[in-house]
């Protein structure tokens, strides 16, 4: 039973990965990656990593992929115009493709040798013993105990990394050159408008509105708009 499930999930994993690489529309690539992640969660369950499988589905296939879908929808349909290029790739193009295939084949052979050619006896076995229970291997209680005792430093560093990534994401995606004039601006002056610096990516700016006081501050600075031209 478990081997049937393994083969179904492994076929899902590999075909999802092939779909990500091969499909030309980025939106379909994202959907293929969602299928890949769900199949991978099945493999994690077969390896008795219940908690990791659950967060794989909830966070990875849920939250992160929603972010991808939003960005694909925002950036637009950037289907690569590869039809022409595939039909007559030219001398350099075909050489590059041959080189890519050779590199990929060498990488696969190397990885298989590194992973399967080891002297470890245990890779031919089914793994260590497993006894079910409330704090068995891979359950949330087990992972939580490890995270908060032995790997407390890694846990804190990971949370700090998430904080830095959140700040970096806001800084990267904010508007750098202010906003265009809008006729139907309806500004509500709040204390926050005076306190915070201009163009910090608030919700009001995101939908195209800008507080009045901030606008005055920007027009009094002549170099504000010239540095980041669109």
């Amino acid at each position: 039973m478990s081997s049937i499930l393994f083969f179904i999930a492994a076929i899902g994993v590999i075909s999802g990965a092939v779909g990500v690489v091969v499909l030309r529309n980025p939106f379909y690539s994202v959907l293929a990656l969602v299928g890949h992640l769900l199949s991978l969660a099945v493999l994690f369950l077969l390896l008795r990593a219940e908690f990791v499988a659950a967060i794989q589905v909830v966070i990875y296939a849920g939250a992160v992929m929603v972010l991808y879908v939003f960005v694909v929808a925002y950036v637009g349909d950037q289907t690569e115009p590869l039809g022409e290029r595939l039909r007559n790739p030219g001398a350099v193009g075909s050489q590059l493709r041959l080189g890519g295939a050779i590199v990929a084949g060498a990488l696969l052979v190397e990885l298989l040798i590194a992973l399967l050619g080891t002297g470890l006896q245990a890779i031919d076995g089914k793994g260590a013993g497993y006894s079910p229970g409330p704090e068995a291997f891979g359950t949330p209680a087990y992972i939580g105990k490890l995270l908060l005792t032995r790997f407390l430093l890694a846990f804190e560093v990971a949370s700090f990394l998430l904080l830095m990534a959140a700040v970096g994401g806001v800084v990267l995606a904010r508007r750098r050159h202010g906003l265009e004039e809008d006729d139907d601006e309806q500004d509500v002056l709040t204390p926050m408008n005076l306190l915070r610096p201009r163009s910090t990516g608030t919700m009001a700016e995101g939908i195209g509105r800008r507080p009045e006081g901030v606008h005055q501050a920007q027009t009094s600075r002549p170099d504000a708009g010239s540095r980041f031209t669109p």
Partner: protein
Amino acid sequence: MSIAWYLAVSAIVFTLGAIGVITRRNPLVVLLCLELMLNGGNLALIAFSRMWGNGDGQILAIVVMTVAACEVCIGLGMIVALYRRHLPIDVDELRELQG
């Protein structure tokens, strides 16, 4: 199933991700293929964790997922910034550090 099968799947997924990173030109798809490579690594980590009956590999897999989430956050922020400044969304065209 023996652990070796899982390791073979992880090697194949990693290689497919590497092929995508090398050949695709849309940075969004390059990010997706990086996710594939990280997932291949995660599968190997969890397989080895199961092999030894030790939870360290699973913790490392969770940390890798965190790093992947951060990478997605920064990468997608960069792509949105590129799009806002009307730069081409194509890694072949983006050769200069100076914007």
